[in-house]
């Protein structure tokens, strides 16, 4: 098993890109999961793109594995996009009722990276808004405190 090349994992512009090719074996998938975790940790990645354009068949195992990787990435705070699903693969997935719930899809890698940027920007905006709201609350609380003091002084 060791002579089979592992699935490449590429770090690019703060995102982790995983081009899956052919039909990966179980050991390759296990290795992939660990490598993604390690890379996300080491590079401070914010997005994960899984490119399936070279996968001609997607069975239930691989579908589940991809979903697991996506869920895992989300748990560690990384936005995930799956891209390049072929029409035949999509038809099989739909017919078999295997879907990728909670996973965003994109047409190709370029769009996937675009979407990741958008998702990250969205998250940042949401965070900023939350911070601003907190700040406002803090100011309001301080004001209340001041007002209380004033009342006390009187």
């Amino acid at each position: 098993m060791s002579e089979i090349a592992p699935i490449p994992v590429v770090a690019l512009h703060g995102h982790v890109i995983v081009p899956v090719q052919g039909a990966p074996t179980d050991s390759q998938i296990v290795a992939l999961r660990e490598e993604i975790c390690a890379l996300v940790d080491a590079r401070d990645a914010v997005g994960l793109a899984i490119d399936l354009s070279a996968v001609r068949e997607l069975d239930s195992y691989l579908t589940r594995a991809i979903r697991d990787v996506a869920m895992l990435a989300r748990l560690v705070g990384v936005a995930t996009v799956v891209c390049g699903i072929r029409p035949a693969v999509a038809i099989t997935l739909v017919d078999m009722g295997l879907e990728l719930p909670g996973v965003q899809t994109a047409m190709n890698l370029e769009r996937a990276v675009e979407l990741l940027d958008e998702m990250v920007a969205e998250k940042q905006r949401a965070d900023e808004e939350e911070e601003a709201a907190e700040e406002q609350d803090a100011v309001a609380a301080a004001y209340d405190l001041d007002a209380g003091n004033e009342v006390d002084a009187d």
Partner: protein, 258 residues
């Protein structure tokens, strides 16, 4: 003596052939000869007439036996079946022709069906990054499969961000049809475009609600106009966002390089 009789009986002026009209008939194969041997038989024979054409004869022969069981002679009945042969071959010819026409018709129907399928599911590029698929007529599972293949193929080829499926032209939506549309929408989403479903008329919507059918995750809009307005707005915004991102990316690249 028997041989003499048989030779005399078989001696005819015209040469005889088997029913195929080519193989010459040997004298010992002649029904009369067989009858003299004690066996009755019936045979189709072709005879060459004076003008070179073939006449067909049905020849039956039976042995005549004496009281003690010996064959005393033979009797034969000859019927001219030329006319029957002609009619049979004419009918066969007609049948062959008919079959050929039928096959040609079947081919034509097949080709017409393909043409109609092509015509009835046009995939239109209505705006930058927006594909529209108006569906007209009845959607059975065969057609649903074709629509699915065609739409996904076009989607991958033209790489739109949005795909609008317009079902204004679908008269009846039952649970099966709704399921087909759901699958279509899900497959489009998997391939990587956002899918919008439009044109569900109030009557159809009522049926769907009464049947308890949920179109689930599919985003539905009232008609093509609304869908187009929304997608064009979003594409415009995304287009700007994408160009901003690109300049951003370039700036980042420079920054990283420094």
């Amino acid at each position: 003596m028997t041989n003499g009789v048989s030779d005399a009986a078989c001696k005819v002026t015209a040469p005889l052939f088997h029913a195929d009209g080519k193989t010459p008939l040997r004298s010992d194969e002649h029904p009369l000869a067989l009858a003299l041997g004690g066996a009755s038989s019936t045979m189709e024979i072709a005879a060459a007439s004076a003008n070179g054409s073939r006449r067909f004869i049905s020849l039956s022969a039976a042995p005549l036996s004496t009281a003690d069981g010996k064959t005393a002679g033979a009797v034969s009945v000859v019927r001219d079946t030329t006319e029957q042969h002609r009619l049979t071959s004419a009918i066969e010819e007609r049948n062959a022709k008919l079959e050929e026409t039928q096959r040609a018709n079947a081919d034509l129907v097949q080709r017409l069906r393909l043409a109609i399928d092509d015509l009835s599911t046009p995939v239109l590029e209505v705006w930058d990054d927006v594909l529209a698929l108006p569906i007209v007529g009845v959607v059975d599972s065969r057609r649903a499969g074709q629509i699915m293949e065609r739409l996904l193929e076009e989607t991958v080829k033209r790489e739109p961000r949005y795909v609008i499926i317009d079902v204004t032209g679908v008269e009846i939506i039952d649970s099966k049809t709704a399921e087909h549309f759901m699958k279509l929408a899900r497959a489009v989403e998997l391939v990587g475009a956002r899918c919008l479903l439009t044109g569900i008329r109030p009557a159809v919507g009522q049926t769907l609600v009464e049947l308890g059918l949920d179109l689930g995750a599919a985003r539905t809009l009232r008609n093509l106009k609304h869908a187009l307005r929304e997608t064009v707005r979003k594409v415009g915004r995304q287009g700007n966002g994408a160009s901003a991102r690109r300049t951003n990316g370039a700036a980042n690249g420079r920054h990283d390089g420094r």
